[in-house]
Symmetry: C2
Subunit: 144 residues, 2 copies
Amino acid sequence: MRAEHRLIFLLTVAYRRLQRAIDQETAAHDLTSAQAGVLFFLGRNDGALIGDVSQALDIVPSAMTGLADRMERAGLVKRRRDGEDGRSQRLHLTVAGQELGKRAATRTRVINNRLMDGFSEAEIDVVSRWLSSLQEKFPKDKDG
Amino acid sequence: MRAEHRLIFLLTVAYRRLQRAIDQETAAHDLTSAQAGVLFFLGRNDGALIGDVSQALDIVPSAMTGLADRMERAGLVKRRRDGEDGRSQRLHLTVAGQELGKRAATRTRVINNRLMDGFSEAEIDVVSRWLSSLQEKFPKDKDG
DNA sequence: GTTATATATTTCGTATGCGAAATATCAAGA
DNA sequence: TCTTGATATTTCGCATACGAAATATATAAC
């Protein structure tokens, strides 16, 4: 199999394994990994513009709409139109969203630690740099 | 943002960037990255059982069905029932699938090389080991 | 002030992927 | 043979994600 696209394959499988693990963890608490990401970001940036959330999580805007829809329907966040700019929407955490976000953060930390198990700090640093390098190697059209 | 789930975030973003890059490459040739993966695997294992493809690409069987459906509809593969075991289906490449697969492999190789740019062999080895480690850290229920 | 352009978000159609449940077939044992 | 349990695949409902096009509002040019 590998050889010809080893890293592509490895990255793809690694991602799927991670997502499944997170989803199984969070599913027990009525969350998904994507929604957990939004809760986490809003935890430190409550009331952020939808576009900012989209950019921070590297999700295209059109995908962010549905994500926000589902989270709003689940009572985790609320949209509020921006006072300054009538085009913009701000996302605010509800109380339920705040609490769920906190609990999810704890579980997420455990998984993140697990990701470092068996690797030295220097090695994790290499991995981090490599993962980050993909953002420059495959930039969005925008931030090219 | 990071800190609390740095690696999770980095891996997620890296994956999305890679997928977008592959999809943009392959979209011009009427392929998607998932379908390219199947073509590539079948290129070396033509007539493989659907379950084997699913396992090799680390896609759950229920996801494989739809993928095979779309590829069959696109004329890239054909299902054929196995002679031995009436439950099994084998996936065979069509001529179109073979050709498309070959062309896709070339483009994929370029991207794979790009993934190594700027990193030494030793570093890529660390990255590979780390990516692989996720398969043990988050095993499928099956392969425990 | 009106027109042209840029920006933020949404809508639409489609592909991917998951889990749970259904279906079909096989294999083993009573 | 009949039943019982395992296995391969599919079906269903849903969440995620993309790109292209639509919509609404803001901003600049005139």
